[in-house]
Point group: C2
């Protein structure tokens, strides 16, 4: 049973679609069919919002490991994380059954549901969302235990993220907003059905998902400057198969750099602006069935 659900936008202050959805549901109300659900609507980082930046001092969505929450870290976001954890957690012994945290990306990832465990519960959730919203992508980040992640959503007993793109930081696109709203509603519809005992492992069809692999970096020269950009054949092709020998980068001298993996992979977060400083070009994933 989901007794308490917390919905967050603005964990990154320049990701406007989740922020706007929260603001609109606060102002105009959520769809009436969710009236029996106990949902709190929250903006996570108001200071980052006001400054129209991802974060003021540190990435809020990396502060929620048990270590960070118990540390003496004192950046604006570390302090904020402790406060959010007190109100909605505490992580590991949470008073909140389910946390849904809404993000957007400059990558063309469409509407992506990120789950951190591929257990029965999340498998049912993923199948349900995919059934309601066939265009959705399911991304599984279960490379480490749920509680080891630093994501805000992990302060809930269960937690997932909505990640929609492509949308520039600080911009609200109607298409991205509507995908965000549709996915948020699909997740809440699942919560309703779950509470009503209507979720049956037998009836939901298996669905396609992508299991996170590794980050791939831009090629850098000895001074740490990039020597290539994402190849036009890869740009905007998130979750499309990338086969060995297909172009990945184009160097500034006009040469193609090919994918040298042993088998196909499904790139995502291709050319995501927030990973600029980290020189991350994209992440790989493996196509699986959930």
């Amino acid at each position: 049973m989901f007794e308490s659900i917390a919905l967050f936008g603005g964990t990154h202050g320049n990701e406007t679609s989740g922020i706007q959805l929260i603001r609109n549901w606060q102002q105009y109300g959520m769809p009436a069919r969710f009236n029996t659900l106990n949902v709190s609507l929250n903006i996570a980082n108001e200071a980052a919002l006001a400054a129209n930046v991802r974060f003021v001092e540190e990435d809020l969505n990396r502060q929620f490991t048990l270590e960070r929450l118990e540390s003496s870290a004192s950046s604006k976001e570390a302090v904020l994380a402790k406060s959010i954890n007190e109100t909605f957690g505490p992580k590991g012994h949470s008073q909140t059954d389910f946390v849904i945290d809404i993000h957007n990306t400059t990558s063309e990832m469409g509407a992506t549901l990120i789950i951190l465990e591929a257990d029965e519960f999340h498998t049912q959730l993923a199948r349900y969302v995919k059934q309601q919203m066939p265009e959705a992508n399911i991304l599984v980040e279960d490379e480490k235990p749920y509680l080891d992640h630093g994501y805000l959503c992990t302060i809930g007993k269960k937690g997932v993220m909505i990640e929609v793109g492509g949308q520039p930081q600080g911009v609200l696109r109607e298409d991205v907003y509507l995908l965000t709203q549709t996915m948020a509603e699909a997740i809440l519809d699942f919560c309703m059905a779950y509470n009503n005992g209507q979720i049956d492992a037998e009836t939901l069809p298996k669905c396609e998902a992508f299991r996170l692999g590794d980050n791939v970096s831009f090629p850098l020269n000895e001074n740490g400057h990039r020597t290539a950009m994402i190849h036009h054949a890869l740009q905007d092709n998130d979750f499309k198969p990338l086969l060995p020998g297909m172009p990945v980068f184009r160097t500034f001298e006009g040469k193609d750099i090919l994918w040298e993996g042993k088998k196909e992979t499904y790139p995502h977060f291709i050319n995501e602006a927030a990973y600029f400083k980290l020189d991350v070009a994209f992440a790989t994933s493996e196509r699986i069935e959930l």
Copy 2:
């Protein structure tokens, strides 16, 4: 005669395509056919680049009015503007014949050449660029005298801007990079032809251009919050005709707001991230012939 040409990128520190073009031409050299041109390659705002932001304290590309340059303004960008003006200007009595300043936008403006005067020279330049690059857009911002603009490029005897999109801030897209490079080369090709006496007003065909109109704001409520977003029918349709009665905004309550202008207009800078804080939704323009 163009004795001296200054090419700038990084006037806004998160507009990566111009920055990368300058860096690449510095490292690998410009195309050999420009060897006879005296071109300096410059990054305008290194501090903003390092921070991956548009500007540190104030928009550098609004600092170059005579009033600002002579004022005691002491923001990082005001000081930087004075220094750039000393090196390449001074504005009004410039040692630099031609300044080309490279920008990018989150709007789908394609490759746009912004000229600030529609005199014979700029008309020839526009026609030449359009002939070389039929997909280019020509935007004429001649609503006030050349020297009254605060743009960096106005420190040159002549100055223009390249504006290419859509590209999120802090992201480098190959398509946007290549359009930027192509337009920069077309302008330099014009300079070569002009110096060689090969520009003949008779032979260059007239071209389509857009004359800047007004900024259109997002609808706001009494608290200054937006009540609507760019309509999906307008999004990404920069420089396409917007006719009276066509949808412009969709409110968060699901209603359409229609264009109430008396005649068609050609919107651009639609949903540009940098105008977020100003609540500017787009700019209008009139289609003209140059």
